[in-house]
């Protein structure tokens, strides 16, 4: 075997003379101390000791004994007298200067570095004028995906839950002889209507998480933060505030904790107050349900408008607070690294979609299930006429409690106990709004569900499979609609049925015939009021009880005011 004898030119490297003197002194001393010389290269050990490596200094004291330890201390004292506490900085800096000097001589680089593909894309995507329109266009596509493409699957899942699943639950109860009583009501009106009604929106969330995963893994999300940073600075806000806000699109709780990336407490508090205005994914099922009932042909636009409203309110409130309560806050500069664009991998995208969606499903099995049972219990307890689990829903304890809140919402167009009750339970978690609406209106609809009683198990299975194939077909046909090409025949506005009809009737009644306007006000309220108790807990944990209360009451006031403007303003404009 031959070895290649390579020799490299040696570049002399020296620390400043006072440091070299002490280094030589210590190196000699360590070399003469066998316990140290056997364990470490002496000069390296001397450098590490002068740089303040605590573990090695301890080793020197232990292995070298008191004489060596005293010599080291004396060297450090002399150098500290010359360099202060920055001795390690001087040592490291010297090495970087040396490397830099060699690199400058040895490496030839073009005066202007060649443009990479990422650079070329960034010239457009982060352009001062094009950046924000592109960001809005991307958001538009995301919300068209979550509505137009996911909605056939929502309809399919909804029909599965309200049909076969409900029938199977009833059949199972009959098997154990528990049908016909309050247990049946709990299972069908409580668990299936509440939890199933929420789970029907899993396709919407899968689609949202799919789009977010693509944006994150491709590197675009970092650009979005960069672009919004510029806008926020222009408004006098801390640019870094937008980073937690982007997290807020997923969930407000980690977004509140993400404010820890900000440097001072007042910036953190300010951002913590703004983050809940960003529309979290838990609100999406509510938007989709209401938008599909009242604005089926424009659901995507409505949802996009809501997300945009959330950003505008957050930025607007931020600018207002920055110039009032949070004045005189200097903006700390920062480095924001834009990673190169990458092609997202199927595995990575799927992992994110699954992790986030399974978190939602877990929530359905815990918080949403528990809330559904409590709501069912309150609906089952009669206040006026009727018996337990057999009373008209408008005579229930839930209706009585919700009715107390109704006057607050009357000027907003949704002063009905069903909507008020859903908003109150929505404080637990936003998805619960959908579950509660499904429960209260399901109870109001009464008989009829769960559909064709004569269907066999095989009929159900074939119906589920057939429905899925139809949903896939509809979703594929809806894809070109994202860019404005409509392959589906223009349909008449679908006749609302079941839950949708009940919601429509309720909103029409509470708004004096202006159901769509009331629904829009309801959506704006859902967008802007407190996301959930977990977000409140996070707020309290990070900023204290007082700021949590400011957040709770402030958001309620803003949500009420915005919904009031939408409803009353719309009425004045004659809508």
């Amino acid at each position: 075997m031959t070895t290649l004898d390579m020799s490299f030119p040696q570049a002399p490297f020296h620390y400043p003379p006072p440091i070299e003197t002490e280094l030589n002194r210590l190196t000699e001393l360590f070399a003469r101390t066998p316990a140290l010389a056997d364990a470490y290269p002496p000069r390296w050990l001397a450098i590490q000791a002068l740089e303040g490596d605590e573990a090695l200094i301890q080793d020197i004291r232990t292995l070298g004994g008191p004489t060596v330890a005293a010599a080291l201390e004396e060297s450090l004292e002399r150098l500290r007298a010359a360099y202060g506490d920055d001795l390690d900085v001087v040592l490291v800096d010297q090495r970087y200067r040396f490397v830099h000097a060699i690199a400058m001589q040895a490496v030839r680089r073009p005066s202007t570095p060649p443009m990479t593909l990422s650079d070329r894309i960034d010239r457009v995507v982060t352009n001062r004028w094009l950046g924000i329109p592109i960001f809005l266009a991307v958001m538009w596509v995301v919300f068209k995906l979550t509505t137009d493409v996911a909605s056939p699957f929502v309809d399919w899942l909804d029909s599965v839950v309200s049909g076969p699943v409900s029938r199977w639950a009833l059949a199972l109860l009959a098997l154990f002889g528990a049908n016909g009583g309050w247990i049946e009501s709990l299972m069908v009106d409580g668990v299936v209507a509440g939890v199933g009604g929420v789970l029907a929106f899993v396709p919407v969330l899968l689609m949202l998480y799919f789009a977010l995963a693509l944006l994150e893994d491709s590197g675009y999300m970092a650009r979005a933060a960069f672009v919004m940073d510029r806008l926020m600075r222009a408004l006098g806000l801390h640019g870094k505030s937008f980073l937690p806000m982007i997290v807020g699109f997923g969930c407000s709780v980690p977004a509140i904790y993400a404010t820890r990336t900000l440097d001072n407490r007042r910036d953190r508090i300010l951002t913590g107050l703004l983050v809940p205005f960003m529309s979290c994914s838990a609100r999406l099922p509510v938007y989709v349900l209401i938008a599909m009932v009242f604005f089926p042909a424009h659901a995507g636009q409505v949802i996009f408008g809501l997300y945009l409203t959330g950003i505008v309110v957050a930025v607007g409130m931020g600018a207002l607070l920055r110039h009032t309560l949070f004045r005189h806050q200097p903006q700390a500069p920062f480095v924001l690294e834009l990673p190169p664009y990458r092609m997202p991998t199927l595995r990575g995208v799927w992992r994110q979609m699954w992790e986030r969606t399974s978190s939602f499903i877990r929530k359905a099995g815990t918080i949403i299930l528990a809330t559904s049972i409590v709501v069912w219990l309150l609906l089952a307890i009669p206040v006026g006429e009727g018996e337990f689990a057999d009373a008209p829903v408008d005579q229930s304890a839930f209706a009585a409690v919700a009715n107390a809140a109704t006057p607050v919402f009357a000027p907003l167009g949704f002063g009905q106990w069903e909507a008020s009750g859903a908003l109150v339970t929505g404080l637990i978690a936003k998805e619960v709004v959908v579950g509660t609406l499904a429960q209260v209106y399901d109870g109001a609809e009464e008989e009829g569900a769960p559909g064709d009683e004569l269907a066999t198990f095989v009929d159900d299975l074939s119906g589920i499979a057939g429905g899925f194939v139809t949903a896939v077909g509809d979703a594929v046909h809806a894809l070109p609609g994202i860019v404005g090409i409509n392959l589906i025949e223009a349909e008449e506005e679908p006749v609302a049925e079941g839950l949708a009809a009940a919601i429509r009737t309720g909103f029409m009644a509470s708004s004096g015939g202006h159901g769509s306007l009331a629904a829009l006000a309801f959506l704006v309220f859902v967008l802007l009021y407190t996301p959930c108790v977990a977000a409140l807990a996070a707020n309290r944990h990070e900023f204290g009880t007082a700021w949590m209360l400011v957040s709770l009451l402030g958001q309620f006031a803003i949500a009420w005011l915005a919904a009031f403007i939408v409803f009353q303003g719309g009425m004045m404009m004659g809508r």
Binding site: H100, C251, V335, P339, L536
Partner: protein, 86 residues
């Protein structure tokens, strides 16, 4: 050179990218990474992607994810100045 990195970040008007910073300081990107890592160890810079809510305490629905919340967006890498020790 090390202090120049801190000064450049301090004087930046708005976010700067690492590439931009390395061109501005005429420093190799690899060397700049090393210098940033040094200041992070010294506590003068904080180098972080957006923090998740792992370990963030009670009330966090993401507490089931000790390594960070699934909802934490893979945000950009952010490097900020920390106030010097008093």
């Amino acid at each position: 050179m090390l202090y120049q990195v801190l000064e450049a970040i301090e004087q930046a008007n708005g976010p700067v990218s690492l590439d931009e910073l390395s061109q501005r300081l005429q420093v190799e990107p690899g060397a700049l990474e090393g210098m940033i890592a040094f200041w992070v160890r010294k506590g003068r810079l904080k180098d972080t992607a957006i923090a998740g809510c792992g370990g963030s305490g009670r009330g966090c629905t993401c507490s089931a994810y000790p390594n960070g919340c699934v909802f934490s967006v893979t945000g950009p890498r952010v490097i900020t100045l920390e106030p010097p020790d008093p």
